[in-house]
C-alpha cells in the first residue's frame, strides 16, 4: 500500500545525474508522508467524533446530578469509607468505628459466599458434562454425520452469544428467586463455552489410537472411552478449572438479579445505601475469588505437568 505507483519509462538510473535521483526520492517521500498524515488525520477525526458523541450520549458532562464527575467520584469514595477508629477497633458491635460494627453480618456473608462457591461448582460440573456430550457430537473425527455437527455447533454458538445475566433474568422469572436459577444459568453458559473448547481438544487427538479402536471393532462409546478420553483428560480438567474460576466471579454477580449467592446481599446493601457494607462484601468477594484462583492455578499447573509426562 505504501509503495509508489510505477512510473513512465525513463533512462536507467546510472545515466541520471545524482541531483535528479535525490529530487525523485524526496518527492516520493513527501507524497508518502502526505498520504500517511492524511490517513492518520482521518483516523483521529473519526475517533474524536465517536468519542465526543459517546461522552455526550453517556451524559458524561451533563448528568442530572450536575457536572463535575471527579468531585462525584470523590464523594462516593468518601461514603464507602467504613470510618474505622484505631482505638475502638476490637470493641463490640455497638461501638461506632469498631471492626465488629463494620462487619456486622459476617456469618451470613460467609454463608452466602459459600453458597456462591457451591453454585459455581455445580454449574461448572453440570455444564462440563453437557459440554462433554456436545463436544463429541460436533468433533469432526468422531461424529460422521455433518448435519448433526452443524446443528450442535450453531447451538453452542447461540448459547455463547447471549450474555449470562440476561439468561439469568429469564431463568429467575421461570425458576423463582434462588440459587437454582443461578446454577442453571451457569450450567447453560458453561456448556456453550466448554463444548467448543472440548471439541477442539477432541479434534486434536492422535488419530492412530482411533484407528486402532476401529480396527479392533470398537463402537462409538468404546472409541471415546479408550481412544480419546485417556489422551485428553488432563486438558479437559484444566479447562474445567479455568472455567470454574470465571464462573465464581459470574456467580457472585448473578445474585444481583436474584439468582442466589453473595450478590443478593450486595443488592441489599445498595438498597439500604450502606456503602461501607458494600465495600466489606466487595472485599470479601475479591478475597474469595483470589483464593479459588490460586488453588485452581496450583491444580492446573500440576495437571499440565501430568499431561506433559504422558
Amino acid at each position: 500500500m505504501n509503495q509508489p505507483k510505477p512510473r513512465p519509462l525513463r533512462p536507467p538510473v546510472a545515466e541520471l545525474p545524482v541531483s535528479q535521483v535525490v529530487a525523485d526520492f524526496e518527492r516520493d517521500r513527501r507524497s508518502f508522508l502526505r498520504r500517511r498524515r492524511g490517513r492518520t488525520l482521518i483516523g483521529a477525526l473519526v475517533f474524536s467524533v465517536l468519542l465526543l458523541a459517546s461522552l455526550h450520549q453517556s451524559q458524561f458532562f451533563n448528568s442530572d446530578i450536575g457536572g463535575d464527575p471527579l468531585g462525584r467520584i470523590g464523594a462516593f469514595l468518601a461514603r464507602m469509607n467504613p470510618g474505622l477508629a484505631p482505638d475502638a477497633l476490637f470493641l463490640n458491635r455497638a461501638t461506632k468505628g469498631s471492626l465488629a460494627s463494620w462487619l456486622y453480618d459476617l456469618p451470613l456473608w460467609l454463608r452466602l459466599g459459600w453458597q456462591t462457591v457451591e453454585m459455581a461448582t455445580l454449574g461448572t460440573f453440570i455444564g462440563g458434562v453437557g459440554g462433554l456430550g456436545a463436544s463429541f457430537l460436533c468433533a469432526r473425527n468422531l461424529m460422521p454425520i455433518p448435519f448433526v455437527r452443524f446443528v450442535v455447533r450453531r447451538g453452542l454458538e447461540m448459547i455463547r452469544a447471549v450474555p449470562e445475566l440476561i439468561l439469568a433474568l429469564v431463568l429467575v422469572s421461570a425458576f423463582g428467586v434462588g440459587p437454582l436459577a443461578g446454577i442453571i444459568t451457569l450450567a447453560i453458559s458453561t456448556m456453550g463455552g466448554l463444548g467448543k473448547l472440548f471439541s477442539e481438544i477432541n479434534e486434536e487427538v492422535d488419530p492412530r489410537q482411533l484407528e486402532a479402536m476401529d480396527a479392533s471393532g470398537a463402537g462409538l462409546f468404546g472409541k471415546i472411552r479408550y481412544g480419546v478420553v485417556p489422551q485428553v483428560l488432563p486438558n479437559y480438567a484444566s479447562y474445567l478449572l479455568l472455567r470454574l474460576e470465571g464462573n465464581l466471579a459470574a456467580a457472585a454477580a448473578l445474585g444481583i438479579v436474584g439468582a442466589g449467592g453473595i450478590g443478593i446481599e450486595l443488592q441489599r446493601a445498595i438498597t439500604y445505601t450502606e456503602f461501607d457494607t458494600y465495600l466489606a462484601i466487595l472485599l470479601l468477594m475479591v478475597g474469595l475469588i483470589f483464593v479459588i484462583d490460586i488453588a485452581s492455578e496450583a491444580i492446573r499447573h500440576r495437571l499440565i505437568r501430568l499431561g506433559g509426562a504422558q
Binding site: L55, P179, L282
Partner: protein, 273 residues
C-alpha cells in the same frame, strides 16, 4: 477360542491383563467423594426436584410467547438504546485505556527495574481483576443516579487492571535494541520511551483496546439491568413484564449488532497487525 487367547495374553503380560483392584478402588473412592460432595451441595442449597420441573414448564410457556418476535412499535427507542450501549462501551474503553497506559508502563519489568515494587504492583492489579463490571455498576449507579454515566465508570474500573496487565506485558515483550539505540543518541528517558518503545507497542495496545471494546459492548448490554441505561434496561423491562416476544426481538437485534461490531473490529485489528 476367546479363553485360549486370553490365557496366552495373561501368560505374556500378567500385570496388564489382571484387573488391578487397588487402582480400581482408588478410582471408585475419588469418584464417590466427588459425587458425595456434589450431592451435599445440592442438599445444602435446598434444591427441590419439583421446582426444576415447574421451572422448565414455565420456560416452555415463555418460549411459546417469544415467537414470533415483535418490536412492539418501539423500534426507534430500541435503536437509540443500542446506540447508548455502544456509547457506554466506547467511552468506557477509552477511559480505561487512558488510565491503564501509565499503570502499564509502571508495571513493566524493563521500565521500572525494581523487583519488589513490581511484585506488589502486579499483585494489586491481580486482586482487582476478579471484580465483574456489574458489581462496580451496582454501586456507581446508586452513587451517580440512574443513567449511563455510572455504567461508563464501571466498565472503565473493571477494565483498568486487566488492560494495565496486558499493556505491561506488551511493553515487556518489546525489543530492547531500539530503546538502546535511541538512548545512545543521548535523549531523555521519556523520549526513549516515545521513540524506542512506543512504535513497537502501539499496534499491540491498539488491537487489545479493540478487543476490549468488543467485550465491553457485551458487558454494557448487561449493565442496564442495574439501571445504567442502554439496551439492557429495555430488555430487563420487557422480561419483567413477560413481554417475551419483544425481548426476543431485542436479543436478536443485539446479536446482529455484536456480530457487526466484531467483524469491524476484526478488520481493523487485521489492518494494525
Amino acid at each position: 477360542m476367546k479363553s485360549q487367547a486370553y490365557e496366552r495374553a495373561l501368560a505374556a503380560a500378567p500385570l496388564i491383563m489382571r484387573t488391578n483392584w487397588t487402582r480400581r478402588l482408588g478410582y471408585i473412592l475419588v469418584l464417590g467423594t466427588v459425587a458425595a460432595a456434589l450431592a451435599a451441595m445440592v442438599v445444602d442449597l435446598h434444591i427441590a426436584p419439583g421446582a426444576i420441573f415447574s421451572g422448565f414448564y414455565k420456560l416452555g410457556a415463555f418460549a411459546r410467547v417469544a415467537f414470533p418476535p415483535s418490536d412492539g412499535g418501539q423500534l426507534p427507542r430500541i435503536l437509540r438504546a443500542m446506540a447508548e450501549t455502544f456509547a457506554m462501551a466506547f467511552a468506557g474503553t477509552v477511559l480505561a485505556a487512558l488510565a491503564a497506559a501509565p499503570l502499564g508502563v509502571i508495571g513493566a519489568k524493563n521500565v521500572v527495574g525494581q523487583p519488589f515494587a513490581h511484585f506488589i504492583f502486579r499483585r494489586a492489579l491481580d486482586w482487582f481483576r476478579g471484580v465483574p463490571s456489574l458489581v462496580w455498576a451496582l454501586i456507581l449507579v446508586s452513587a451517580f443516579g440512574l443513567g449511563p454515566f455510572g455504567g461508563v465508570i464501571a466498565l472503565a474500573l473493571a477494565d483498568i487492571p486487566r488492560l494495565a496487565k496486558l499493556f505491561s506485558e506488551a511493553i515487556e515483550n518489546g525489543d530492547e535494541r531500539p530503546m538502546e539505540g535511541v538512548r545512545s543518541a543521548g535523549v531523555s528517558p521519556l523520549m526513549a520511551l516515545r521513540y524506542g518503545l512506543a512504535p513497537q507497542v502501539a499496534p499491540v495496545i491498539a488491537s487489545q483496546c479493540l478487543f476490549f471494546l468488543e467485550s465491553n459492548f457485551r458487558n454494557a448490554a448487561v449493565l442496564g439491568i442495574v439501571g445504567a441505561g442502554g439496551i439492557g434496561f429495555e430488555l430487563e423491562e420487557r422480561i419483567r413484564v413477560f413481554a417475551f416476544d419483544e425481548a426476543t426481538f431485542i436479543i436478536i437485534l443485539y446479536m446482529v449488532c455484536v456480530a457487526v461490531l466484531d467483524t469491524l473490529s476484526q478488520r481493523l485489528r487485521a489492518m494494525l497487525a
